[in-house]
Amino acid sequence: MVVVEDNPGDIYLIRQALEKRGIGDLTVLQDGEAGYIFVTEVERGAASPPDLFIIDLSLPRRSGPELLARIKTSSAFAHSRIIIASSSYSSRDRSVASRLGADRYFVKPSSFDQFMTIGALAAELLDEGSS
């Protein structure tokens, strides 16, 4: 699992949501540039591709859509699933994410219980991937 997210609060919440689903092996990258470097490492064989990315839409240095496009052009990630997470419920942002090939778009809610549903979303994508 790779989470690309710059907001410490959201990192905490995503970690909680995934732990509740028994998903523990988490790499956290704090900006889009770190995401780019990670992608290059995987392409060189220095790291293995994750089963699932959770990528924030608005990241420092390189944006979520930029990183998403980069991942999608690389054959190394053919089996990685991608969730784009964002505070924005604008249809424009949502359609950009799906056009670039994100598997899911998650609007980060403002209540704890609702935020935890990202765990179910992740589990569902991981199940699809393994079956």
Partner: protein, 382 residues
């Protein structure tokens, strides 16, 4: 000087090359950029890339040419009204004279110049046409920079609203967790602080949502939503969205016969939703009595009214309430973001109407707004 080189050039279309060359020479002596066109196609192409003015001699124009040119001129952007100087022959009526008369009618910004023409007359007429054209370019530049500023401002409001939402979510969630998981560790004051944080976060969220709704009014323009709205349906939907508040307040609502008007139904719904929500919210001691009605506004269209028996508004505030973030009450007494009426005003004004209130403190308010008749009435006017 505004405009490209082409846009500063006068194009001349005269069938005999000699006439055209003479005109070019006359204008060049006065430092006016001039070029000849040897065919109508060449003229059309030149006008497409931009031109300061066109000089056309009447014998060059068949009636088909006139039609073609008129079509081209009709598709000009709003700032553009290309000056055309039409050279005619004085005196005897000829078939050309007749088509010139017609050309003068359909080609818009046409000046007729009778031959024989003195160079001085020609230069003065062309200079005047160029001056007018330069004004048009200025108008275009203003329009472009205005459009640019507006879209930047909207983009700014939009992004700012989204970026504000991000930290806010965390404030809401972590104060929620603090209350949920650490309640025992907090004393009474601590819990109260927590409550303040959560209530403020909630309120800020409403503000941001409403602000987004306000900025998004522009996005809607491009959508292919039908532009006629059944007011009765919009009111019905608005009442449904307010059903809890209506039941709790014991409001009685009377809806008169309402027309179909030319406006996006989401917009008309938003107006009624805001006005009715206010009518229920700003109630006095008695349960709200609200009446929605419409009447014809002579020569304009329809005038809608939403009348209540609520607390009313003092005269000095009656205009101010339509401004963005303008509120008259503390949030504890009547909650709100101060955006609802601003949204209503923006929608109404954009469709060419007016919105206002008539009210007396303690004696209720009536909000009025007008909607223009559609020019064509495919959906009927109800």
């Amino acid at each position: 000087m505004p405009g490209s080189l082409e846009e500063q050039t006068v194009y001349i279309f005269a069938p005999t090359g000699r006439d055209a060359r003479l005109i070019v020479d006359t204008l060049s002596e006065a430092d006016i950029l001039a070029k000849t066109c040897s065919s109508r196609d060449e003229l059309s192409r030149a006008l497409q890339t931009g031109a300061a003015a066109a000089i056309i001699s009447e014998e060059a124009l068949s009636s088909q040419d006139v039609q073609e040119l008129a079509r081209h001129l009709e598709s000009q952007p709003f700032w553009s009204d290309l000056p055309i100087l039409l050279l005619t022959f004085a005196g005897r009526p000829t078939p050309q004279n007749i088509s010139s008369g017609r050309a003068a009618e359909v080609l818009g910004n046409v000046t007729l110049l009778e031959r024989p023409l003195r160079p001085m007359t020609l230069r003065a007429a062309v200079r005047s046409a160029i001056r007018a054209r330069m004004r048009q370019y200025q108008l275009r530049r203003r329009q472009e920079s205005l459009q640019h500023a507006i879209s930047e401002l909207e983009q700014f409001a939009y992004s700012a609203s989204h970026d504000l939402r991000e930290p806010l979510r965390n404030i809401a969630i972590f104060s929620e967790l603090l209350e949920k998981e650490h309640l025992a560790a907090l004393d009474k004051t601590g819990r109260q602080y927590c409550n303040f944080v959560r209530a403020s976060a909630k309120r800020m969220e409403t503000l941001i949502d409403d602000l987004l709704a306000y900025t998004r009014l522009n996005d809607d323009e491009s959508h292919n939503e039908p532009t006629t709205a059944d007011a009765a349906k919009c009111v019905e939907m608005a009442l449904a969205s307010l059903s809890t508040a209506i039941t709790e307040s014991g409001a009685e609502i009377e809806v008169g016969p309402l027309p179909v008007v030319s406006m996006r139904s989401t917009h008309l719904y938003q107006i009624f939703q805001n006005l009715l929500a206010n009518a229920v919210k700003y109630r006095g001691e008695a349960p709200p009595r609200i009446r929605v009605s419409a009447s014809r506004e002579e020569g304009f269209g329809w005038r809608f009214a939403v009348k209540d028996n609520g607390i009313g508004i003092s005269p000095e505030y009656q205009e101010r309430i339509f401004g963005l973030f303008k509120r008259l009450h503390t949030n504890a007494k009547y909650s709100g973001s101060g955006i609802g009426l601003a949204i209503c005003q923006r929608i109404v004004q954009r469709s060419g109407g007016k919105i206002w209130v008539e009210s007396e403190p303690g004696r209720g308010s009536t909000f009025y707004f007008t909607v223009k008749h559609e020019r064509l009435a495919p959906g009927g006017r109800g």
